[in-house]
C-alpha cells in the first residue's frame, strides 16, 4: 500500500527538478542563449520549410499541369490584387523584401517585429509568389525568421538589447532553410543584416543556421537547390573571361538596381489612395510577360537549373535576363510582397550563360560550357546587386560544393562589386530604406560609433523657423543670437537648416519678402548639388562625423534626425557642444589660466 505515495513522491521530485532546471536556465544567460539559438533555429527552419512547401502546393493548384494560357495572365493579377489589399489594410509592415525591414527592426525598433507582420509576410508572400509574381522567397523568409526570433524573445521577457541580438539569429536560420546554404546564411546575417563580420553573435547565428538546415534535411532530404555539373577550369585564359563577366555582371546589376529604384520612386509619388492597387501593375506586367514567356512567372529556379546545365540558347538567356529585370523591377517597385534575392540569382545566371556562350563560340577549346559561367554569374550578380561579396562567394561554393570554383568567383565578384560601388553609391537595401525615409547605419560607421556618439552633444533646437515666415522677419528674430544656423520645421516635419548668413544675404539682395520655404528650397538645391543630400546627423553616429560634416557644409550647427524618419528633428549639435564633448573647451580654459 506504500507504492502509490512513492510514485507520487517520485513525480513531485521530478517536477521540482524540472522547475529548478528551468529556473537555472532563466538565470544563466550562456545556457539560455544556447537553448534559444537551437530552439529558434528549429522553429524558424520548420516555419520556412512550411512556407516553401505551402507556396509550392498553392502554385501547383493555381497552375496545374497542362493548364490554360489565360491562367498565366489572370493569376498574377488576382494574386497582386488580393495581396495588395491585404498589405494595405491588414499587414502594412509586410510589404517588400523583408531585409531592410529586418535591419530597421534591429537598429531602430529595438528588435521588435510584430506577430501580425510575420503572419502577413507568410500569407501575402506565399499567395503572391504562388500566383507567379516575379519575386523571391529568401528575403521574406529572413523577415519571417527574424520576426519569429523577435516574438519568442519578447514573449520570454528578454530585454530590448537581448531581443535585438536574437533577430539576426532568426534571420540566419531562415536563409539557411530557404536557400540550403548554412554557411552563407551565417555570413549574410553578419555581412548584410548586422553589417559587421565581427558581430558578437557569431556563435548563436552558427547554431541557429545549422539547426534550421538540419530541419530542412530532415523534412526534404539532401536535395540541393540547383543541380550543377562538376566545375573545371579549362584554360587560364578563362580568368580573363571571368573578369569580363564581372564587368557585364556589374553593369547589369547597376542597371537593375537603378531601374528598380527609379520605378519605386515613381510609384511612391503616386497618391496614397492608390497604394492598395499599385501591386496590380506588377501583376499585369508579369501576367502579360508570362503569357508569352511562361518562364517569367515566379522566381524561376527551374530555368536557372536548366541554364546551369547549359540547355538554353543565347537569344533565350538574353531574353530571359532582360525580361526578368523588367518583371522583378516592376513587381517590387509596385509594392508586391517578395524579395529580390532569388531574382538576382536568376538574372546573374542568365548574364553568366550569355557571356559563357559568346566566349565558348569564340574560344571553344579554351573555355568551359555556358553552365559554368551561369554559375559564376549568379554569384557575380549577387555581389553587384546585394553587395555582399563574401556571402556570394561562399553561397556559390555551397551550392556547387566545389572548391575549384572559388578563384573565378572571386575575380568576377570583385570586379562586379567594384563597378557596382562606383556607379551606384548606396547598396540596394540601403537605398530602399532611404526611399522610405529610413537611414540605416553602415557597418563601417558603427565600428567608429563605438567611440563617442552624437547623442553626447545633442541639445534641443531653439527658435525653430516656420516656412511661411518672411526672410526679413526670420533675420530680425535670429540675428542677435550666437547660433549661426536654424532649423526650419512645418508642423513637426523638419524641412532643413538655414544659416543666418543666408538670411542676411537674401535681405541684402532685396529678397526680404521671400518666404523662408523659398529660400530653404534654393539653399537645399545648392547643397544637394554639392553633397547629394541635405546635411544631417543621427544620434548614434560618431561625433567625429559631426565635425567632418560641419567642415563639408560650412554649418557650425547641424540637425540631428531620427533614423526611422529623417523629417523628425531630435535636436541640434553645435560646434562648441562637440568641442565640449571632446573636452577641448576645458583644456583651453586651463591653458588660459
Amino acid at each position: 500500500m506504500q507504492v502509490a505515495p512513492t510514485i507520487l513522491g517520485g513525480r513531485v521530485r521530478l517536477i521540482e527538478r524540472f522547475a529548478h532546471l528551468i529556473e537555472d536556465l532563466r538565470k544563466q544567460e550562456d545556457r539560455l542563449s544556447l537553448v534559444l539559438s537551437v530552439l529558434i533555429g528549429a522553429l524558424v527552419g520548420a516555419v520556412v520549410v512550411a512556407f516553401i512547401l505551402l507556396t509550392g502546393r498553392l502554385a501547383s493548384h493555381i497552375y496545374p499541369a497542362g493548364g490554360a494560357g489565360w491562367r498565366r495572365i489572370l493569376a498574377p493579377i488576382v494574386g497582386s490584387l488580393v495581396t495588395g489589399y491585404l498589405l494595405y489594410r491588414v499587414f502594412p509592415d509586410a510589404r517588400g523584401s523583408g531585409i531592410p525591414q529586418t535591419r530597421a527592426a534591429i537598429f531602430i525598433h529595438d528588435g521588435r517585429i510584430s506577430l501580425r507582420t510575420i503572419i502577413g509576410k507568410f500569407v501575402c508572400c506565399s499567395t503572391s509568389l504562388a500566383s507567379g509574381i516575379a519575386l523571391g522567397r529568401e528575403g521574406p523568409s529572413v523577415h519571417i525568421g527574424s520576426g519569429i526570433a523577435s516574438v519568442v524573445a519578447t514573449r520570454l521577457g528578454l530585454s530590448k538589447a537581448q531581443v535585438r541580438w536574437l533577430v539576426p539569429v532568426g534571420g540566419a536560420a531562415a536563409l539557411s532553410a530557404a536557400f540550403n546554404t548554412p554557411i552563407a546564411a551565417v555570413l549574410f546575417s553578419l555581412e548584410e543584416i548586422m553589417g559587421d563580420l565581427h558581430a558578437p553573435i557569431l556563435g548563436s547565428v552558427v547554431l541557429s543556421s545549422t539547426t534550421a538546415w538540419m530541419v530542412l534535411h530532415l523534412v526534404l532530404g539532401d536535395e540541393p537547390l540547383f543541380h550543377v555539373a562538376p566545375y573545371h577550369l579549362v584554360n587560364p585564359v578563362e580568368f580573363i573571361v571571368y573578369a569580363a563577366l564581372g564587368v557585364v555582371g556589374g553593369l547589369g546589376s547597376v542597371g537593375f538596381v537603378k531601374l528598380l529604384l527609379a520605378l519605386r520612386q515613381r510609384f511612391m509619388r503616386m497618391p496614397k489612395s492608390t497604394v492598395w492597387i499599385q501591386p496590380v501593375v506588377g501583376g499585369v506586367t508579369v501576367g502579360l510577360l508570362g503569357y508569352y514567356v511562361p518562364a517569367m512567372l515566379g522566381v524561376g529556379y527551374d530555368q536557372v537549373d536548366k541554364v546551369l546545365s547549359g540547355d538554353l540558347a543565347l537569344r533565350v538567356v538574353l531574353m530571359f535576363g532582360l525580361l526578368k529585370i523588367v518583371a522583378t523591377s516592376v513587381c517590387y517597385a509596385s509594392g508586391n510582397a517578395g524579395g529580390i534575392f532569388g531574382p538576382s540569382m536568376f538574372i546573374g545566371a542568365m548574364m553568366g550563360a550569355a557571356v559563357g556562350q559568346v566566349a565558348h563560340q569564340l574560344l571553344p577549346g579554351s573555355t568551359a560550357g555556358p553552365g559554368a559561367y551561369a554559375l559564376v554569374g549568379m554569384g557575380t550578380a549577387f555581389a553587384g546587386i546585394i553587395r555582399t561579396p563574401l556571402t556570394s562567394v561562399i553561397m556559390i561554393f555551397e551550392v556547387t560544393r566545389d572548391y575549384t570554383i572559388i578563384v573565378p568567383l572571386m575575380i568576377s565578384n570583385m570586379v562586379a562589386f567594384w563597378i557596382s560601388q562606383r556607379l551606384q553609391r548606396a547598396p540596394i537595401y540601403e537605398a530602399l530604406a532611404h526611399q522610405d525615409g529610413i537611414h540605416l547605419p553602415t557597418g563601417h560607421y558603427r565600428a567608429a560609433s563605438r567611440a563617442l556618439p552624437v547623442s553626447t552633444a545633442l541639445r534641443d533646437a531653439p527658435g525653430i523657423l516656420a516656412p511661411e515666415m518672411l526672410v526679413q522677419q526670420a533675420l530680425t528674430r535670429v540675428e542677435t543670437s550666437e547660433l549661426r544656423s536654424w532649423a526650419v520645421s512645418d508642423a513637426g516635419e523638419f524641412l532643413g537648416m538655414l544659416r543666418t548668413s543666408d538670411l542676411a544675404e537674401a535681405v541684402a539682395d532685396g529678397d526680404g519678402s521671400m518666404s523662408v520655404r523659398e529660400l530653404l528650397d534654393e539653399s537645399r538645391r545648392a547643397a544637394m548639388k554639392r553633397t547629394g543630400e541635405f546635411a544631417h546627423l543621427h544620434p548614434d553616429q560618431p561625433l567625429g562625423q559631426a565635425l567632418a560634416r560641419m567642415g563639408e557644409t560650412q554649418h557650425n550647427v547641424l540637425p540631428v534626425v531620427s533614423r526611422a524618419n529623417v523629417h523628425k528633428l531630435l535636436g541640434i549639435v553645435t560646434l562648441p557642444d562637440v568641442l565640449r564633448a571632446y573636452g577641448v573647451e576645458e583644456q583651453e580654459g586651463r591653458d588660459g589660466e
Binding site: 528551468i22 532563466r26 544567460e29 520549410v49 512547401l53 546545365s309
Partner: protein, 248 residues
C-alpha cells in the same frame, strides 16, 4: 561577447517563462508535423507526375520523336534525380539523338550514387562506344555484367555479355573474346545461344571449341541444319589451321 546575449530581465515570472517555452515547443512540433505531411504529399505527387512523363517519353521515343522524348525524360529525371530508370532512359534518348556528351553528363552523378547498378553501367558502356572509348566501354560492360539487376538477372547478364562479345569481335580482340565466350559456354543452354556461341568461337580463332558446341547440339538434334552447316565450316577452318605452317 557571447555573455551579452540573452539575459532575462525579470519582467515575467518563472511560470509564464515555462508556459511560453512550452508553447514555442508546441508550435515547433505542429509546424514539423505540417512539414512532414506536406513533404509526403509533395513526394507522392511528384513521383506520379514523373512516372507519367516517363511513360509519355517512352511512347514518344518509340514513335521516333526523340527530341520530345528527351524533354519528357529530362523533366522526369529533374523530379527524381536518383531514379535509375529515368536517368538511363534520358541517357539512351540522348544517345539516340547523337548527344553522347550530354548522356555521359546525365549518367555520371548517378554512377557516383549507384555505382553497382547494372543498367547505369550498361548505359555508360554504350555512351563510351559512341565516344569511341572502347577500353572504357569494356570496363563498364564488365561492371554491368557483375552489377545488380532487378528481375531476370541471368538472362540480362547473358544479353550484356553478348553485347560485349560483339564489341570484342568487332575489335578482333581474340583473347578477350575467347575469355568471354568461355564464360558464356559454361551457362548457355538454349539452342540459339549455343549456335551463336559456335559462330563466335570460330571468329575468336578456336574452331575446335566451335566444333564441340555444334556436336553437342547435333547430339540432341541430329538433323539441325544450322548446326550441320556450322560444324562443316568449323571443320574446314580447323583443317586450314592444321595445314598452316606452324611458327618456328
Amino acid at each position: 561577447m557571447e555573455s551579452e546575449l540573452p539575459r532575462v530581465n525579470g519582467s515575467i515570472g518563472p511560470h509564464t517563462f515555462l508556459l511560453t517555452l512550452t508553447a514555442v515547443v508546441g508550435v515547433l512540433v505542429a509546424f514539423l508535423s505540417l512539414d512532414f505531411v506536406l513533404a509526403r504529399i509533395e513526394r507522392t505527387e511528384t513521383s506520379a507526375h514523373a512516372e507519367s512523363l516517363f511513360e509519355e517519353g517512352t511512347r514518344l521515343l518509340a514513335g521516333n520523336h526523340t527530341e520530345d522524348a528527351i524533354d519528357r525524360f529530362g523533366s522526369a529525371h529533374a523530379m527524381a534525380r536518383d531514379s535509375v530508370r529515368y536517368t538511363v532512359a534520358l541517357a539512351s534518348a540522348l544517345l539516340a539523338d547523337r548527344r553522347a556528351a550530354a548522356a555521359e553528363e546525365a549518367l555520371t552523378p548517378l554512377l557516383l550514387s549507384h555505382g553497382s547498378a547494372a543498367p547505369v553501367n550498361l548505359a555508360m558502356a554504350r555512351v563510351m562506344i559512341a565516344e569511341r572509348r572502347p577500353q572504357d566501354a569494356i570496363s563498364y560492360y564488365h561492371r554491368a555484367i557483375y552489377g545488380e539487376w532487378a528481375g531476370d538477372a541471368a538472362k540480362r547478364r547473358d544479353s550484356v555479355r553478348f553485347e560485349l562479345i560483339e564489341l570484342l569481335a568487332r575489335r578482333a580482340d581474340s583473347s578477350a573474346l575467347l575469355s568471354e565466350l568461355l564464360s558464356v559456354d559454361a551457362t548457355a543452354a538454349s539452342r540459339e545461344t549455343r549456335l551463336r556461341l559456335g559462330k563466335l568461337f570460330l571468329r575468336a580463332g578456336s574452331p575446335q571449341r566451335s566444333i564441340d558446341v555444334y556436336r553437342a547440339i547435333l547430339h540432341t538434334r541430329p538433323h539441325d541444319m544450322e548446326a550441320l552447316v556450322g560444324l562443316q565450316e568449323s571443320e574446314i577452318a580447323l583443317s586450314k589451321a592444321r595445314l598452316r605452317p606452324s611458327a618456328p
